[in-house]
Structure formats: structure tokens, C-alpha cells
């Protein structure tokens, strides 16, 4: 299973963290510090796996962002690389050639997409299309609610003029 997902920029800034196993706040920041130190310092041609505290961390760099997933020792590392790629492709389709800034200002969207991809540290959906469809359906629900709210507030605003 995937114990946590970590997105770290090349400068070591955290862009997304998702924990599927219980870690206290203290442990979380320690893990992030430790791992980003190791991963950011690894050379470019090396393999994408790190053995770390009895787990394995699979990471892959996309532009300025490192996508890391921590898995059990017996898990399939190559598949996790595919899961990371799968996630990146979905992000790419959603934002239209995604960049780090998209993930900073719309970090919650990145989380929503991740939640449609993984639950309980396991893969939920192998079709990018399906994920996109479910996300946009939920986005529409939010938009509809917003419009409704703004129309109500317009009515109130006019009534109180």
C-alpha cells in the first residue's frame, strides 16, 4: 500500500502531502525534511527508488516537482512509477499542461484529483477519462451552488439598497 504521497519542489518546498498511514504532525515534518534532503540530492541518472526506514520511496521528477510515494518493501516499485505518471497525466489534462504554479494556487484541486485516484493508499481508477469526468461533475456542482449563492446575495443586496 502507499503510505504517503509527497510533492516537493526542487527548492524543497512542500506542494502536497497526503498521509494514508497515521503519522503525527511531528513525524510528518521529520519525514518531509529527511526525504526531501535525500531525494533532492540524488543524481539524475540514478534509479527512482530509495530504501528508507524499512520502506521504499519511489520518486519521479516532472519539471521542477518531485512526486514521491512511500510503499511497502514488497510492493511493485515499477507500478508505483506508473501510478505517479498516471496522476501527472490526469493533472495535465485537468489544468492543460500543468505547471508548479497551478498546483500552488489550486492545491485543493490537486488534492481532489488525488482523492479520485487513491483511497486507503490503493489505486482506485485506471481510466484517466473517468477521473476527469467525476471531477468535472463535482466542479459543476460547486459552480451551481456558487451561482445560487451569488444570486441570493444579489437579491439581498438589492433589497437592502
Amino acid at each position: 500500500m502507499i503510505h504517503f504521497v509527497l510533492l516537493v519542489s526542487r527548492q524543497g518546498k512542500v506542494r502536497l502531502t497526503k498521509w494514508y498511514s497515521p503519522y503525527t504532525q511531528k513525524e510528518r515534518s521529520k519525514v518531509i525534511r529527511e526525504l526531501s534532503g535525500v531525494i533532492l540530492n540524488r543524481g539524475p541518472k540514478l534509479c527512482n527508488f530509495i530504501e528508507w526506514r524499512g520502506y521504499k520511496v519511489v520518486y519521479k521528477r516532472y519539471a521542477s516537482l518531485y512526486f514521491c510515494m512511500c510503499i511497502d518493501e514488497a510492493d511493485n516499485e515499477l507500478e508505483v512509477l506508473e501510478i505517479i505518471h498516471h496522476y501527472v497525466e490526469i493533472l495535465d489534462r485537468y489544468f492543460g499542461s500543468v505547471c508548479e504554479l497551478d498546483l500552488i494556487f489550486n492545491f485543493h484541486k490537486a488534492y481532489y484529483i488525488l482523492d479520485e485516484l487513491l483511497i486507503a493508499g490503493e489505486l482506485q481508477e485506471s481510466s484517466k477519462k473517468t477521473v476527469a469526468r467525476i471531477i468535472s461533475a463535482q466542479d459543476q456542482l460547486v459552480e451551481a451552488a456558487k451561482e445560487e449563492a451569488s444570486s441570493i446575495s444579489n437579491i439581498i443586496a438589492q433589497a437592502t439598497k
Partner: protein, 876 residues
């Protein structure tokens, strides 16, 4: 933007934070935002709630505390609208984890949302539950989730399936409730549902044997068919990854087949064809294909023996191993470790490639390869592999040397064909990576050296040569110092030359140079210095011609900032200076260390040394035959009588102190309980660096003495220490004692000042019982008399429930210690002893007098005897 809201927007806050140049600036911005959010939370305005939470999540991600927002999540989740719920659940998963009590409050909201009419709300609740539920929540909400597995919408079904995997992980008892629902998911066509369904089945198989049996019977063929369909399916753009249709589904199906086939020949048989097909047909030029192949190999190796498939699997791994992609090589190494258990030969064929991987620039690959090499080593290839590894040790990265040297040592110890080879290899390791070698490794080396008597000369010369070049390798220096101390004479005289050696000329002063270097170098640690000091003491006797120089070096250590070093320096100096005639026997060569004892202790103490790490805790055994006494005897080469006498002779004070430490530790080591010090290093013990202070020393030497006394069955330990030697042992002990005193110093025996000894008396004698008293007095307190009563049964029957009571007049005080036993064997075949302490307040005026009563059972009948003792010697 909502006209009623106040505060900055999320986007503005992120901009403001990103615009910060320094960490302090960022902290200030965050602090201000947090203050605003807190204020808004207190106003409890529902309009801003979701924006506040979004901001808090961002702040949380930066690593600032955000616990004050936790309740906001719950409020948002409880609100009716979808947008609020969406952000509320996100915040819940981000800001909380399963161990927080607040989470319990959300159970009710979750339950409502799981029954919500909007399927996306249900999806949100399932997602949150699947990601952070605790065991209690799992129990409470399991029925809802179980129902949702059958929901009409596939989006909910797949989420419910993964949520169930979390629930059964948290509460394995619930597994059986999910078995039927999980089995129904395997018939699905929707990939998402199928993937999660297979995952749930796999999870259930792992935690519940009945579930495993059920799936094996009912679903094996179905799973095989699904895998076949997906493998043979035509191009499906939605699921295609690099030419493979849904590798994720492939991998999960293969994984489920693995648990179904493991340990079941029939099921394994069924899946042979499809596994062969996957193994041969899958494209291996892209990562996705390799991921499937990798999973397939793992399944082939786990299921029951189908040797033709295994050949296929090993071949795939061979291909992986020669792949240029580091990731593929990594997983190949990983998998070969599993393959080695059933086909050693096949893996051995790749030995050369694997050895190359040990030298890879990538740390992960190196580590894997090194583990694999350790498994590959056997008696036949050990010399060649060790040579390769040691060659590499010379050029490897500093941070890899620790792992590498540990593994080499492990290999060398396990497979060494002969001692000479072992010593040679270990020396090479110490030369290259002596800084990284663990204590137990060099301790083991010393034990081996000590046992290889024909190699002593060779070893000490090799070490001498090595230490001249690699003087910065701490453990090498230690071993060298120890060996030169023990076998310095062999070094100088070129004793025991082997054919392979070139003769070298080493003068006595050259050998001392090495030790002096070790003791004076500033970066030597205290253990090394301590060992060097002992070596100097030993050399002072081996090399009498330069003992003056040695003495000078020892004297310099009198100024050491380490208290123990200082003290030992003073003591050793005094030995060198004043006790020349015992010195040679005092510093004789160590007896051969017992390998078997060492290995047992090493195995036993290994976890301790692993956990403490810093302090060396593995000990060298000293091959004691007689547990408590031997180490001392070994060290001093005296016989045990002398030891018994030593404490009572004042002239031997410093010696006793010197030895007291050693005695204490070794007696506790050999004690039945193996107390906390059991793991202490004997080499350290000798020096007592880091062992108890003098106060404790004396306590432990008393300990030791009492053990010795039980062996000798003479008298109480305290008596021996604090009173004149009791008459019956005085005769045996005194000879030894005087021997020792002769050798030590001209100081007079303290016995004379201790006052006279008193003859023992027969205090009571009847037809069946005899009581003897022996006396001793503590010198500092003449009023007190220690009486040891010995009871002897003269009748042919055993006394049981034996009890001795005594009464004294008022001017006396009597204290009785417990008797040694309450059963007295028949016909004098044993006795009971009991200590009495009598304090005479009219000492010198009145003499002792005592009444006594003895009760015991003879053939089940109570017997009582009484008597009065008035024949105490005068002057008590």
C-alpha cells in the same frame, strides 16, 4: 466575491506568502493570517468558513500549526451544501489523523453522508472514511460501507471497495462480512470497480484463511479468465499504457493469483498457462510492460513448483539485470534474492553482473547488490568474492564503507576456510575501513588471533606493518596495540616466521613507538588509550631493556584528563617501579580466549549493542573454568589462596583496588543472572574505564569474595574482610598470603594489629547434636563478636524444621542471622551454619554467656533440647 466576506482571498494570501523574501517575513504573514482566521472563527460566520479552511490547509502544508481549525472542518462537513462538504472533508483528511479524538465527533456526519441522496456526497464520505478511519469508526460504519459495495453507481462501488480494505485492515474480525460482496465485485466489467474489487479480495485473503479458501475455490477460474481477457483484449485507448491494456489491473490480478496459488498445487496448475502467456507475450521495452513482467515473475516464484515456468522467470530476471535502465536492474536484484532460495545455480550464473552492481554509482542498487552477494557466497567462491569486495572497499565512497565492511566481515567470519586467511582478510578490512568496523567484529578478531597460537608472530608483524601506514584507522590501532602488548617479544624476535613472510627488523623501541603514538595521538578515543596503557605495562616486562622509557610514557598519563587513565597510570607506574619481582607474572600473556563462550555471548548481546550503539557492549570471554576466580588468576597467575588472602593484607591495597574492578565485573558476569554488566568488555574491565567508582568496587569485591567463600565453604565473606582470619583457614591462607606479601612490599601484616584470634569451642553436645562456635572480632569494634555456629547431627536420622534460639543477659545484645538451612542431614553428613553477632556492653569486665534452645523434628516428632554456654574464651 461575496460582498459580506471580509479578510483576504485565498489567492491573495498565497501571493503574499510567495512574495516573502525571508522566513521571518513569511512567519509574520502567516501569523497575521492565522490571527484573522481565528477571529473569523470566533465570529462563527458560515460564509467565510470554507475559505478560511482552504487558507488553513495551505498554511498547514507550509508546516505551521493549525489545530484551531479542526472544529471548522466538522462544521463544514455538517453543513448541507456540496461545496462546503467537499472542502470540509478535504480539511478533515489533511488536518486530522486517525489518532485524534476530534475524529470521533465526525462519525455521525459520516453516517448521514453515507446515506445521502447525492452520490458525490456519498463519494466524499467514503473517501474520507477510507483514508483516515480509526478502528472504532470502522466498526461503527462497516454495515453502511458493506451496503454501498452493491450500490448502482460504479463510482460508489469502487470507493466502497477500497474503504472496505481499510476497514478490514483496521478490524480484521470484520473480514468475513465482506467476503461475499468482494466475490461479487470480481465479475464486474468496469475497470475501476474490478481493480478495487481485486484489491479487496487480495486483502481479505491475507488476513483471513477462510476467505482465502473461499476465493480459491470459487474465484480462481474467474480471475484467470479475467486476466486472459484483458491480456488478449484489443487496443482500448481509455486503458492503454504503452501498448498494454490496463497494466494496473494486470498487476492486481497477478497479485491475487499469487495468494491463491501459493501453497495450493491445483490452483497453481490452473494458472500456469496464463502466467506463461503473460511472461512471454508482454512487451518489455516500456516501464509499464516491465512492471507487469515483474509482478508476473514474483507470482511464478511464489506459487507451487512449476519448474518450466521458473526457468522462464529466471530468464526474465537475467534480461532485467542486463538492462540499461537502473530501475529495472534494481528490481532484478530485488527479485533474484527471492529466486536464490530455489535456484541457487541460476543466480550464481549472474554473479559477475551482480558484483558489478555492487560498484554501481547508485546507492540503492549498491545496497541491493551487496545483500544479494552476501547470499551468493558459499565455501567455493568465498575467496574470490571477498577479494573483489575488498578491492572495491579501497575505492568505495566513504558512506558506503560501513555497510560494505560489515558485510565483508560477515562473509569472512562465516565462510573462512582457514585462520590465516581470516586474519589476512580482516586486516585488509581494518586497514581500509577500520573507522567503520563495529566493536564485535574486532573483538572477534582478537579472539581468533588468541586461538591461533602458531600465527601469533605472523599476526603481530602484519599488524605492526599495517599500523605504520594506516594509523588513522581506530580499530586497526586497537587490535595492533593489543597484539603488540601480548606478543611484542614475537614481533621483535621474528618468532614463528611463515614461509610467505619477508623478514623485518623491529627493535623494541620501534614497537613502543607504535604504542606511544596510539596513546598520545589526540584523536584516539579513551578505549584505545586505555588499551595502549595496558600494552605498555605488558611491554615493560617483555622489554626490560627499555622499561625506563616505557615508564616515562606511563608517567605522562598521570596527567590525563580521564580519571581512570590517571589512576591506572599511577598504579601501573607503581608496578613498574616497585614491584619488579611480581611484574613478569602479573603481566603474563593472556590465556587463550574461549571462542565458544564468546560466540554465545556475542549472539546474546547483539541486540543490546545494536540498540545502544555508542557504547561497546560485547565482551571477550576469558575462558574461565572456575567462574568467578579464573579471570583474576589468569591475570595474576597466582593461585586462589593468594586471592583470598589479598584483601586482608594492607600492603596489597592498590593491587586489590586494581583488581577489585576486574573481580567485581567478572563475578557479576559469571553470575547466574547475567546482570546488566554481563556485556561489558573484558578488555575494558581490566582497565575499568567506565566501570564503577571505588565505592562500588569494594562492594563488588565483597560480592566476589562471598562467591569464592561458598566454594571454599569456610566462613562469611564479611568475616574474611573485616576480622582476623578465622583459625581454621588461617593456616591454609597464610602461606599464600605471606608469599604475596613478600612479593609486594615490606609492609607488615595487619594481622598483628588486628588483635588475637580466639579458639573455637564446642558449645553444646548431646547424644544427637553437636554445636560448635567459632569467633571473630571486627578490629574497629572490640565490643562486638561475630560467632559462627555450626550444627552437626550425630544421630542416624535427619532433623527437619531445625530451629536454633538463643538468649543472653541484659548487658549483651544478640543478633541472629538466618540459618543456612533448616534441615540437618544424619550422621554428620553435613551441617547448618548460622551467624550470631554479640555486642558486649561490659567488654573487658564480664565475659559472654548464653542460653540456647534447639527445636527440630525427628521422624515427625518434635524434639526440644536446651543448654547453656559458659565456656566462651576470655576477652570476648
Amino acid at each position: 466575491m461575496n460582498p459580506f466576506s471580509s479578510g483576504t482571498r485565498l489567492r491573495d494570501m498565497i501571493r503574499a506568502i510567495r512574495a516573502c523574501k525571508t522566513a521571518a517575513e513569511e512567519r509574520a504573514v502567516v501569523r497575521k493570517e492565522c490571527a484573522d482566521i481565528r477571529a473569523l472563527i470566533n465570529e462563527d460566520d458560515p460564509h467565510d468558513r470554507h475559505r478560511n479552511l482552504a487558507k488553513l490547509m495551505f498554511i498547514h502544508m507550509l508546516g505551521y500549526p493549525t489545530h484551531f481549525g479542526q472544529m471548522e472542518c466538522l462544521k463544514l462537513i455538517a453543513s448541507p451544501g456540496f461545496p462546503e462538504k467537499r472542502i470540509g472533508y478535504l480539511g478533515l483528511m489533511l488536518l486530522l489523523d486517525e489518532r485524534q479524538e476530534v475524529l470521533m465527533l465526525v462519525t455521525n456526519s459520516l453516517k448521514q453522508d453515507l446515506n445521502h441522496s447525492n452520490q458525490y456526497v456519498v463519494g466524499l464520505a467514503l473517501c474520507a472514511l477510507g483514508n483516515i478511519c480509526s478502528a472504532e469508526m470502522a466498526r461503527d460504519l462497516a454495515p453502511e460501507v458493506e451496503r454501498l459495495i452493491q450500490f448502482r453507481d460504479p463510482n460508489i462501488r469502487k470507493k466502497a471497495a477500497l474503504c472496505s480494505t481499510r476497514i478490514v485492515r483496521k478490524v480484521p474480525d470484520l473480514a468475513e462480512n465482506f467476503v461475499n460482496a468482494a466475490a461479487s465485485l470480481l465479475k464486474e466489467k468496469h475497470h475501476g470497480v474490478l481493480i478495487t474489487g481485486v484489491q479487496l479480495c487480495y486483502e481479505l485473503c491475507l488476513i483471513n484463511d477462510e476467505a482465502l479458501e473461499y476465493f480459491r475455490k470459487k474465484c480462481t477460474e474467474g480471475v484467470i479468465k479475467t486476466l486472459r481477457d484483458i491480456t488478449n483484449s484489443a487496443y482500448q485507448p481509455e486503458y492503454d499504457v504503452a501498448g498494454i491494456t490496463d497494466p494496473f489491473l494486470h498487476i492486481r490480478l497477478l497479485r491475487l493469483l499469487r495468494v491463491l496459488g501459493q501453497g495450493d498445487a491445483d490452483a497453481s496448475d490452473l494458472m500456469t498457462d496464463i502466467l506463461a502467456q503473460v511472461a512471454t507475450k508482454t512487451e518489455s521495452n516500456k516501464n509499464a510492460g516491465n512492471a507487469v513482467l515483474y509482478e508476473c515473475v514474483e507470482t511464478i516464484m511464489a506459487i507451487e513448483d512449476t519448474s518450466s515456468l521458473r526457468v522462464l522467470a529466471i530468464n526474465i530476471l537475467g534480461r532485467f539485470l542486463s538492462n540499461r535502465d537502473n530501475n529495472i536492474r534494481y528490481v532484478a536484484l530485488n527479485m533474484l534474492m527471492k529466486a536464490i532460495t530455489f535456484d541457487d545455480q541460476a543466480v550464481q550464473r549472474h554473479r559477475v553482473t551482480i558484483l558489478e552492481c555492487v560498484k554501481d554509482p547508485d546507492a540503492s542498487i549498491r545496497k541491493r547488490a551487496l545483500e544479494l552477494v552476501t547470499l551468493l557466497v558459499n565455501e567455493n567462491n568465498v575467496t574470490q568474492l571477498t577479494k573483489e569486495l575488498i578491492d572495491y572497499l579501497e575505492i568505495s565512497d566513504e558512506d558506503f564503507k560501513e555497510d560494505l565492511s560489515a558485510k565483508i566481515c560477515f562473509i569472512v567470519e562465516k565462510f573462512s576456510p582457514e585462520k590465516l586467511w581470516y586474519i589476512d582478510q580482516m586486516l585488509k578490512v581494518l586497514c581500509e575501513a577500520g573507522k567503520f568496523v563495529k566493536d564485535d567484529v574486532w573483538h572477534a578478531l582478537i579472539v581468533v588471533i588468541s586461538n591461533a597460537s602458531e600465527l601469533h608472530g605472523y599476526t603481530v608483524r602484519a599488524l605492526y606493518k599495517a599500523v605504520l601506514i594506516y594509523s588513522e584507522q581506530e580499530t586497526l590501532v586497537r587490535v595492533a596495540v593489543w597484539c603488540i602488548g601480548e606478543y611484542g617479544d614475537l614481533l621483535v624476535n621474528n618468532v614463528g616466521m611463515l614461509g610467505i613472510e619477508d623478514p623485518i627488523t623491529v627493535t623494541e623501541s620501534d614497537a613502543v613507538d607504535v604504542i606511544e603514538d596510539a596513546i598520545t595521538r589526540h584523536n584516539s578515543d579513551s578505549t584505545t588509550k586505555a588499551m595502549a596503557l595496558v600494552a605498555l605495562l605488558k611491554l615493560s616486562s617483555r622489554f626490560p631493556s627499555i622499561s625506563e622509557r616505557i615508564k616515562d610514557i606511563i608517567v605522562k598519563q598521570k596527567g590525563s584528563i580521564l580519571l581512570e587513565m590517571q589512576q591506572r597510570a599511577i598504579e601501573y607506574n607503581s608496578i613498574v617501579d616497585r614491584h619488579k619481582n611480581i611484574r613478569s607474572s602479573l603481566v603474563e600473556r593472556m590465556p587463550v580466549l574461549d571462542e565458544a563462550t564468546f560466540n554465545v555471548r556475542r549472539a546474546g548481546s547483539f541486540p543490546a549493542s545494536a540498540s545502544t550503539g555508542a557504547k561497546p557492549s560485547v565482551s571477550l570471554p576469558n575462558g574461565f573454568e572456575k567462574p568467578a576466580v579464573a579471570p583474576l588468576v589468569d591475570l595474576l597467575d597466582l593461585d586462589s589462596d593468594d586471592i583470598l588472602a589479598a584483601p586482608s593484607s594492607s600492603g596489597a591495597d592498590f593491587l586489590q583496588d586494581l583488581l577489585g574492578v576486574d573481580l567485581g565485573s567478572s563475578s557479576s558476569q559469571s553470575g547466574a543472572t547475567q546482570g546488566p554488566k554481563a556485556g561489558t568488555d573484558l578488555l575494558l574491565d581490566i582497565l575499568s574505564i567506565g566501570t564503577p567508582s571505588p565505592a562500588q568496587n569494594s562492594a563488588s569485591s565483597i560480592d566476589f569474595l562471598s562467591t569464592a567463600d561458598i566454594n571454599n565453604n569456610t566462613s562469611n565473606a564479611l568475616d574474611t574482610l573485616s576480622s582476623p582470619v578465622p583459625p581454621q583457614i588461617a593456616t591454609t591462607a597464610s602461606t599464600g598470603m605471606f608469599d604475596l606479601l613478600d612479593g609486594l612490599s615490606p609492609s607488615p601484616s595487619k594481622e598483628a594489629t588486628n588483635g588475637p584470634a580466639y579458639p573455637s569451642i564446642v558449645a553444646y553436645e548431646s547424644s544427637s547434636l553437636k554445636i560448635e562456635f567459632t569467633f571473630s572480632k571486627p578490629p574497629e569494634n572490640p565490643q562486638t563478636t561475630n560467632v559462627q555456629a555450626t550444627f552437626i547431627n550425630l544421630s542416624p536420622n535427619t532433623f527437619t524444621d531445625f530451629i536454633f534460639q538463643a538468649a543472653v543477659p541484659k548487658f549483651l545484645q544478640l543478633h541472629l542471622d538466618p540459618a543456612s538451612s533448616n534441615t540437618l542431614p544424619a550422621s554428620g553428613n553435613g551441617n547448618i551454619t548460622q551467624n550470631l553477632k554479640v555486642t558486649n556492653s561490659q567488654h573487658g569486665k564480664k565475659s559472654l554467656v548464653m542460653r540456647m534452645r534447639i527445636g527440630y523434628k525427628l521422624d515427625g516428632k518434635d524434639v526440644l533440647e536446651e543448654g547453656q554456654v559458659s565456656n566462651f574464651p576470655r576477652g570476648l
